[in-house]
Amino acid sequence: MTTATEALRGEVTIRDLSKTFNINGRALNVLKGVNLDIRGGECLAIVGASGSGKTTLLRVLAGLEDADEGRVLIDGEPVHGVGTERAVIFQEPRLLPWRTVIENVAFPLELRGLSRDEGLKRARRYVQLVGLTDFVEAYPSQLSGGMAQRVGIARALAIQPEILLLDEPLGALDAMTKLTMQEELSRIWREEKVTMIIVTHDLEEAIYLADRVLVLPKDKSGQLREISVDLPRPRNRSEEGFVRLREQLLAEFGLH
């Protein structure tokens, strides 16, 4: 239906989205009347204190939770449940321990009915993209945390999604690995030209990766705040503009 030159696939529209959880008989408003437009190919970071509903928002987008009210449209089409145009990267790599790296990456391709050979061939390309060519036959138990997460990223990319949903993808990694992986994610986003929506509690990570940082307020009646990140890529974490944005973002949380 669309041509290759059209780089605007993966557009997300969120209208009046509300979600209430029932905890011990008490209704808890997690999301209330959220409106949001995400351009195709954009990288949006969502930050917020714990309890602000950022993970819930991502799970609704992934189709893992249903919203109580409101709609989510992808490229103008309303979405229900999980879909092949979206891939999720979780905080844990969630690899199948009995499959090798390459077999893990090929897993969603099998579900999509690709033949084993085709699947492995495509999987190999994405294993290469995340720099794990030497580990194709390794089992997850033999990988470090960062390597395992790379496999998770390769698996998500292998289905060639329009939208990549990342739920604190680097939250469990050590500080050094985290920085390397941020560069890696930034590079992958530029190469793959996908819409990327990343939930994080790391403000620096948000500024490093995103075109736009969305701040979810803890008070549900409050306004969604957003900060555009107008810095050239690859970004420099100690550059003046970067530092200023970080201060601005910290101020959103009443921190200095």
Partner: protein, 305 residues
């Protein structure tokens, strides 16, 4: 200590005129001697010496105790520290075993015992695993059947043996059935447990990528349950032998369990011990087969004991 044994051992062995004890001494002494040599050579050829010594040490740590026990048994029985009429020396036991196989009934006993436990175990696997997978996957079924399962599991299979005899007669069927009954539960419960323990995060991951229930079961639940199922299989194999012996002791006129009892009645004590050792060997072999299979199928997981 080692020298003492080596001096007294061949003396007794030659007076008894059998091959097996000499084989035992030959087996035992090189590792002892090798250990000494390697120990002396160590400082001179540091790397090679260390490797050899490491290997010998490893083997010694692993099998030293069993070799020592065998030697102690042999010496204690031949030297008359214990009554050899009650606990005969190992060479007489091996002699009785050899004779039992060559001219006696042991082949037949071994075959019938293998047949009984084999059929029962196979039936328990064929029913226990599919039923366990089904019960583990469909929570409602599991919840509904669990009380019955707990009751049946807690009822000793041996206590039910008379009931099985009444229902199925004194022949093969009741024996096979009592073994089947006892082996079914470890497999069934381990399989149910394995399925229920499936990682919900992996299931969610599969769901995100569009896996339907059938796929999730085949690609996530089943492989994840496999190590647990093997725990059940190995437990069941042990139980199968236990029940085999009990059933054969109670109401059989053939089989290794019968042979243990029968040899004792007839005061063929070496044959009795021979049959006991054979049963032990059977258990070890069964466990080894399952362990190998487990390593094959669960290469990704550390093997559990």
């Amino acid at each position: 200590m080692a020298l003492d044994i080596e001096q007294s051992f061949p003396l007794k062995a030659s007076s008894l005129q059998t091959g097996s004890p000499r084989a035992a001494t030959l087996k035992a002494s090189p590792s002892q001697a090798g250990g000494q040599h390697a120990g002396q050579a160590g400082p001179a050829f540091s790397t090679v010496g260390r490797l050899v010594r490491g290997g010998v040490q490893g083997a010694f740590v692993r099998y030293g105790s069993i070799i020592a026990l065998a030697i102690l048994w042999q010496v204690a029985a031949t030297a008359g520290w214990i009554n050899p009429a009650v606990i005969p020396p190992l060479d007489r036991i091996f002699e009785a075993l050899t004779n039992g196989f060559i001219s006696g009934p042991l082949w037949r006993d071994l075959a019938i015992s293998l047949q009984r436990s084999g059929i029962a175990f196979a039936a328990a696997v064929a029913i226990g695993i599919p039923l366990g997978l089904f019960m583990g996957e469909i929570r409602l079924v599991e919840r509904a059947l669990d009380p019955i399962l707990q009751l049946l599991r807690q009822t000793s299979a041996l206590a039910l043996y008379p009931v099985f005899i009444l229902l199925l007669g004194l022949g093969e069927t009741s024996k096979v059935f009592v073994i089947f009954w006892a082996t079914l539960f470890p497999i069934l419960l381990a399989t149910i447990g394995g399925v229920k323990q499936a990682d919900p995060k992996l299931i969610e991951m599969a769901r995100v990528y569009g896996a339907r229930r059938r796929h999730i079961f085949r690609s996530v639940v089943l492989p994840g349950a496999l190590p647990q199922i093997f725990v059940g299989l190995r437990l069941s194999a042990t139980t199968a032998l236990l029940l085999l012996i009990a059933a054969e002791m109670i109401g059989a006129n053939s089989g290794l369990g019968f042979q243990v009892m029968n040899a004792q009645y007839n005061f063929q004590i070496p044959l009795m011990f021979g049959a006991i050792l054979l049963l032990a060997a059977l258990g070890l072999v069964a466990n080894l087969i399952l362990e190998t299979l487990q390593k094959r199928l669960c290469r990704w997981a550390p093997a559990k004991a």
